[in-house]
Symmetry: C2
Subunit: 275 residues, 2 copies
Amino acid sequence: MKAVVIGLGLIGGSLALNLMKNKFISTVYGIDANKEHEKEALELKLVHEIIEFDKINTCDLIFLCVPVGGIISIVKNLKNIPKTTTIIEFGSTKLSILNAVPNELKEQFILAHPMAGTEHNGPKAAFAELFKNAVCVLCNAENTSVFHQHRTIELLSNIGMKITFMNAINHDHHSAIISHLPHVISFSLANYVLECEDKKNILHLAGGSFADMSRIAKSSPAMWESIFVENKNNVLNALNGFINELENFKNMLENNEYENLNSWLKHANELKKIL
Amino acid sequence: MKAVVIGLGLIGGSLALNLMKNKFISTVYGIDANKEHEKEALELKLVHEIIEFDKINTCDLIFLCVPVGGIISIVKNLKNIPKTTTIIEFGSTKLSILNAVPNELKEQFILAHPMAGTEHNGPKAAFAELFKNAVCVLCNAENTSVFHQHRTIELLSNIGMKITFMNAINHDHHSAIISHLPHVISFSLANYVLECEDKKNILHLAGGSFADMSRIAKSSPAMWESIFVENKNNVLNALNGFINELENFKNMLENNEYENLNSWLKHANELKKIL
C-alpha cells in the first residue's frame, strides 16, 4: 500500500514514522504547505518522498494531519479519489469536518482523534512513540464501509493506539470540557503571568506546579486557534462553566466559608480515583 | 547537632530523610499531630525518634513543616528556646508568619519556602530527592543573626537547594500569581470536570493535557486551605486578574477577532523563552 501524510508536524510526522515501519506499506509520501517542513521531513526520514497534492489519488491511504480549518479546506478539494482509498483525518474537533465531507466520500472517510500530543510542533517534534497507548476516538464510524473501518482499526491499533467510538456531537462537547478548556486555561495563565511577572520571579517561584500548568500554553497557535474557532460554542460553554467554578471558590474564600472550602478542595481530590 | 521536624508529611518527611544523612546531625526527632503519621515516620526511618512537643528546646534545629495556620499556632507557643537554636519554618506564605513571630525569637527565626512538592502527602510521600535543585526562598533574612543565617544556608544548600532572597510582602504577592493561582485553577478544573463528566469520558479524552492540568488538584486540602486563607487578598487579586484574561479570550472568540486571538496565543508561547 502507498500512503500520503498531509501535514508533517508533530502529529503527521509521528504518524509517518510509524507508517515507515509498517510492513504493509511500501511508500510513505508527504505534503506540507510549509516547504521548509517538507525539506526537514525528508532529512529526518519521516517520509520516503514529497509529492504534489494532485498526486494523492495514487495512494491507498490519505492522512489529513493539518489544523481543523485546513482539513475542511482539503476535504472540499478532494477529487477523483478511488473508492478503495481510505481517507483518515486526525483533527481535534469533528462536527464541522463531518459536515464538510461530500456525500460521495462518506463511505471511505474516517474521523479519528488520537488523544496524543506534546507542546512541541513541526517535523522535528515528531517521534514514533507518540501514539503508544494513546486512546484514538473514531467518530460516526458506522457511516463508513466495513472495508475502510477494518483497515483503519488494524492500522491504528497496530501503532499502539486504544480504539474507542463516539459520535461527533458528543466528541466535540466532551473534548471542549476535558481537552480544549485546559488549553484555554493554560494559554490564559501563561499570558496573565507573563503580563504580571518578570523572568526572575517566574524562575524562582515556578516549581513544578506552574511548569505543568503552563506546559500546553507552548502548543501551536495555528492548531489551537483552529480548534477554538471550529468548536466555538462548546468551548465558550465549558469556559463559562469553569468561570462559575472559579467564582464559587472566590465567594467561599471572600466570605470565610472554610468548611465549604475544605469540602470543595477534598472533592477535587476525588480525581485520584480516576487518573 | 540535634534536629526536630514538626510535621512529618511530604515536606517534613523529605527534609527529615536529608537530615538523617547529614554528618553534622546526630539525632533527628519527629513530631506530628497525627499519631498514625508518627508511627509511619518511624517505620519508614524518616526520623530516629518521636518526642513530645515540650522537649523541642533540647534541639539545635527546629523545623516547622505543617500548614501555615499550624506554623502560626506553634510560633505563638514556643517557650524557653535557647538563643543558639535555629527555628526554620517551611510555610508557603510568609507575611502572616512573620507577623506572628515574637520579638524575642526574631533573631533566630528563619522564613524559608522550598519551591518543591508533589501532589502526594503524608510520610509515605516523602523522598530524599524532593529538594534537589529546587529553589529555596529566604524571606527577610536580614532580620536574623549572621550565625543563624549562615547555619541555615549551609544546611539547605547542602541538601541541594538553590538559595534566593526576597521580602515577605513580595514573596506573598508573587507566590499568589505564580504558585497559588495555578492551584486554584487546578482545583477548580478538577471540580468542574468531575461535575460534568463521567469516568469513561475522562479516561478516553484526557490525554496528557488534562492529566497535567489537574495533577496538583490532588494536593493536600488542609495545606492549600491554609495557604489560600493566609494569603487571601493576594490570591483573590491574582484570581480576578486571571478571570479577566479568560474574559479577554472569551470576547475574542465570541466576536471572531481571529487576528487578536492568534497574537494572544503566540504571546503565550513566549513562555518557551523562560521555562
